[in-house]
C-alpha cells in the first residue's frame, strides 16, 4: 500500500500516479482506477507514453558521453576521504531492467491503453448504488469503493479463488485524492472532523484486500489539507510505504539557489518491511525530483557548488574573461581564462 502525500497543487503527485498506472499497462497488469475528481476515462487518456528501448538508450548515450568527458578525475588530493565512496550517479544513466521509463510530454497511444483490462470507479456515477456490505459506520463513498474493489478482486480471480485460471495477473489499483472533500469526508476541512475513523477503517480494509490478493495500490492524499495530525500518524502506521512530495511552486524555496535545479523534494516517511526483519534502507534520505521536458526524475539532492565571489577564484576568472570579451573586440585579449591580477 503506497501512500503518497500530495504536493500543494497536485501537479507532481498526479504525475507519479499516472506513472504507476502506465507501468501497469506496459507490464500487462490489470488496472483499477478510482477518483472523485476526474473521470477515470480522462485519467487514462493522459498517461505518459513509454519510451522504447532504442530511442531512450540513444538519448542517454549522448548525455552519458558528455558527462564522462568532463568528469574525469584521477585522484582527489584534498577530499581524499571521499575517494572511497562509490561514484554517485545522480540520474539513472545505466538502463536497468527494472521498470520502464516514460516520456512525460507524449500521451500513451489508445491501442496500448486498450491492451489491458481496466476497471474504473468514478464516485459521482456510483451515487445511487447501495452498498451490500456491512458498512461499519464508514463513509458511504469509501464503502462503495471497497465493495467495488472487492467485487473486481473476487470476480477476476486475483485472490486465487478460481483454481482454473492458470495465468495469474496483478491488479494495480490507483485511488486519487482520497480523503478530499469530494469523497464526502470532512477530514480535510476541519480540525475535529465528525467521523475520525472512516479514513483509517477504509485503509485497514483495503490493506486486508491487498494482502489477500495479487494487487498493489497507490493512493494520493492531499495531506497538506488534513489538519488533524493524529489521523496522519494513524494512516502512516496503516500503510506500507509513505512518500511525500513537496513542490517548490509558490514557496520561498523556489528562488533559493540551493534548489535551483529541482522542482521539489521527495520525503520518504516509511518503507515497507514485509516478510523480513529488515527493510531495504537506502544510503541517502535526501531526494529531490525534477521535471525536465520529457523526463520526470527523482535523484539524490546534491547542492551545487558555492559560486559566490568570496569563495572561489574560478568564478572570478569567468566573469573577468567574459567582461573582457564584451568590452574590447580584440582577439588577443580573449585567449583563455587566465586571469592575471596586476
Amino acid at each position: 500500500l503506497v501512500f503518497t502525500e500530495e504536493d500543494k497543487y497536485g501537479l507532481y503527485s498526479n504525475l507519479l500516479f499516472k506513472y504507476f498506472l502506465a507501468e501497469g499497462i506496459v507490464c500487462g497488469h490489470d488496472l483499477f482506477v478510482a477518483s472523485a475528481k476526474e473521470h477515470p476515462d480522462n485519467i487514462l487518456k493522459e498517461l505518459p507514453a513509454p519510451l522504447l528501448d532504442d530511442t531512450y538508450g540513444k538519448e542517454l548515450g549522448d548525455e552519458a558521453a558528455a558527462v564522462k568527458s568532463e568528469d574525469f578525475q584521477d585522484s582527489m588530493k584534498i577530499a581524499w576521504r571521499y575517494q572511497n565512496l562509490p561514484k554517485m550517479e545522480a540520474s539513472p544513466t545505466t538502463y536497468t531492467k527494472f521498470g520502464h521509463y516514460y516520456d512525460a510530454s507524449k500521451k500513451m497511444s489508445p491501442e496500448l491503453c486498450q491492451s489491458v483490462k481496466w476497471h474504473s470507479f468514478y464516485l459521482h456515477e456510483e451515487l445511487s448504488f447501495k452498498p451490500k456490505m456491512k458498512t461499519c459506520n464508514m463513509n458511504s463513498g469509501y464503502a462503495k469503493l471497497l465493495q467495488s474493489i472487492q467485487r473486481i478482486i473476487s470476480q477476476e480471480g486475483f485472490d486465487g479463488s478460481d483454481p482454473q485460471k492458470k495465468q495469474r495477473n496483478v491488479l494495480r489499483i490507483g485511488i486519487q485524492s482520497l480523503g478530499s472533500v469530494l469523497w464526502g469526508d470532512d477530514v480535510c476541512c476541519s480540525d475535529a472532523p465528525e467521523d475520525t475513523h472512516s479514513l483509517t477503517k477504509f485503509l485497514y480494509v483495503l490493506r486486508g484486500l491487498l494482502r489477500k490478493s495479487l494487487s498493489a495500490c497507490i493512493i494520493t492524499v492531499p495531506a497538506h489539507l488534513i489538519q488533524n495530525k493524529a489521523i496522519m500518524e494513524r494512516v502512516t502506521n496503516l500503510s506500507d510505504m509513505v512518500v511525500g512530495l513537496e513542490s517548490f511552486i509558490g514557496s520561498e524555496r523556489e528562488t533559493n539557489p540551493l534548489y535551483k535545479d529541482y522542482h521539489g523534494l521527495v520525503h520518504v516517511h516509511q518503507i515497507p518491511r514485509l516478510n523480513s526483519l529488515i527493510c531495504d534502507v537506502s544510503d541517502t534520505k535526501d531526494l529531490a525530483f525534477r521535471l525536465k521536458r520529457k523526463l520526470f526524475t527523482i535523484e539524490r539532492l546534491h547542492l551545487p557548488p558555492d559560486l559566490s565571489d568570496t569563495v572561489s577564484r574560478a568564478s572570478k576568472q569567468d566573469l573577468a574573461g567574459s567582461a573582457k570579451l564584451l568590452s574590447s573586440g580584440c582577439g588577443a585579449m580573449a585567449i583563455g581564462k587566465k586571469h592575471l591580477d596586476f
Partner: protein
C-alpha cells in the same frame, strides 16, 4: 509468570521484538494466542522460519491460536451473515465493543483437556490499530485490564503488547493508552530511533525498563539502554557507542 510486558516504539519499527517474543514463547512450549492486527499470517510465518520456528506447524498442533485481523475483517464485511452463537472477534468495527475480542482471547487460552502446554501467552500486534478502527481509548484499556485479570492472574500466563508512540505525537488518544499501559507494565522494552538521526549501522536504541517499583514500594526501576542493528536472521545488541562499525 503473570507478567505484563509492554513493547513500545517511537520513530522506528519495533516489530522485530514481536517476532522475537513469538518465536521465544513457541520454542519454550507455551500456548500462544497471537492477535495479529496489522500483518498477514504469511509475513509472520516467513520471518519465524528465519528465526527457526514454524508457525504453521504450531498452529496444526494447537499450540498457536492466530487471529489474523486483516482476514477476519474481510470475512466480517464481505462474508455472509454470521451465525448468532459465534460473534466475530472483530465486531468492534461496527459496534465499538471489544468484548467479543476478549472472549476470543479467553476461550483460546483456557486450557482444554489434554493440553500439556506450559503457561498461556497473549501477544498483541499492535494495540494502536484498535484506536484507528473506532475503539475508544477507555475501551482499549478495559480490554487490556480484562485480559490481565484473565490471563495473568487466573491463568498465570504472560501478556506482551506492542504499541506505537511518538514524543511529539498529536494523537492524544494513543498517548493516553500508552502512558496508562506504561504505568501498569512489569517490563517495558522501548525501541527508539537514534536521536542523531538515521544511521546505517545502528538502527536504533532499546531501553529496557524493569518496573521493580510496581512490586515493592521502595525499589527503583532498573533502566538499561542498548543499541541494536537488525539483520536478516537476528538482531545484535551492543552497548551505546560500541557498534561494530565504529570499532
Amino acid at each position: 509468570q503473570g507478567k505484563f510486558t509492554l513493547l513500545r516504539d517511537s520513530r522506528t519499527d519495533g516489530s522485530f521484538l514481536v517476532h522475537h517474543f513469538l518465536s521465544f514463547y513457541l520454542r519454550a512450549g507455551c500456548k500462544v494466542c497471537f492477535v495479529a492486527l496489522l500483518q498477514s499470517f504469511s509475513h509472520y510465518n516467513i520471518v519465524a522460519q528465519k528465526l527457526g520456528v514454524s508457525l504453521a506447524a504450531a498452529k496444526e498442533r494447537g499450540q498457536l491460536v492466530f487471529l489474523e485481523g486483516l482476514k477476519s475483517c474481510l470475512d466480517l464485511l464481505f462474508g455472509e451473515e454470521e451465525q448468532p452463537g459465534q460473534p466475530s472477534p472483530l465486531q468492534f468495527l461496527s459496534t465499538s465493543d471489544l468484548r467479543a475480542l476478549f472472549d476470543f482471547v479467553r476461550v483460546s487460552l483456557t486450557p482444554a483437556d489434554g493440553d500439556s502446554w506450559k503457561g498461556p501467552v497473549l501477544l498483541v500486534d499492535d494495540l494502536s490499530v484498535l484506536l484507528s478502527l473506532g475503539a475508544a481509548p477507555v475501551a482499549v484499556l478495559d480490554f487490556i485490564h480484562y485480559c490481565r485479570v484473565s490471563v495473568c492472574c487466573q491463568l498465570k500466563g504472560n501478556i506482551v503488547v506492542l504499541v506505537h508512540s511518538n514524543e511529539d505525537s498529536e494523537d492524544e488518544e494513543n498517548e493516553l493508552v500508552v502512558n496508562s499501559l506504561c504505568h501498569h507494565s512489569d517490563l517495558i522494552l522501548w525501541a527508539e530511533g537514534l536521536a542523531t538521526g538515521f544511521c546505517k549501522d545502528v538502527h536504533g536504541q532499546i531501553k529496557i525498563i524493569k518496573r521493580l517499583s510496581l512490586r515493592q514500594a521502595a525499589e527503583q526501576d532498573l533502566v538499561q539502554i542498548y543499541q541494536y542493528k537488525i539483520q536478516d536472521r537476528n538482531v545484535t545488541f551492543f552497548a551505546r557507542g560500541l557498534s561494530a562499525a565504529v570499532l
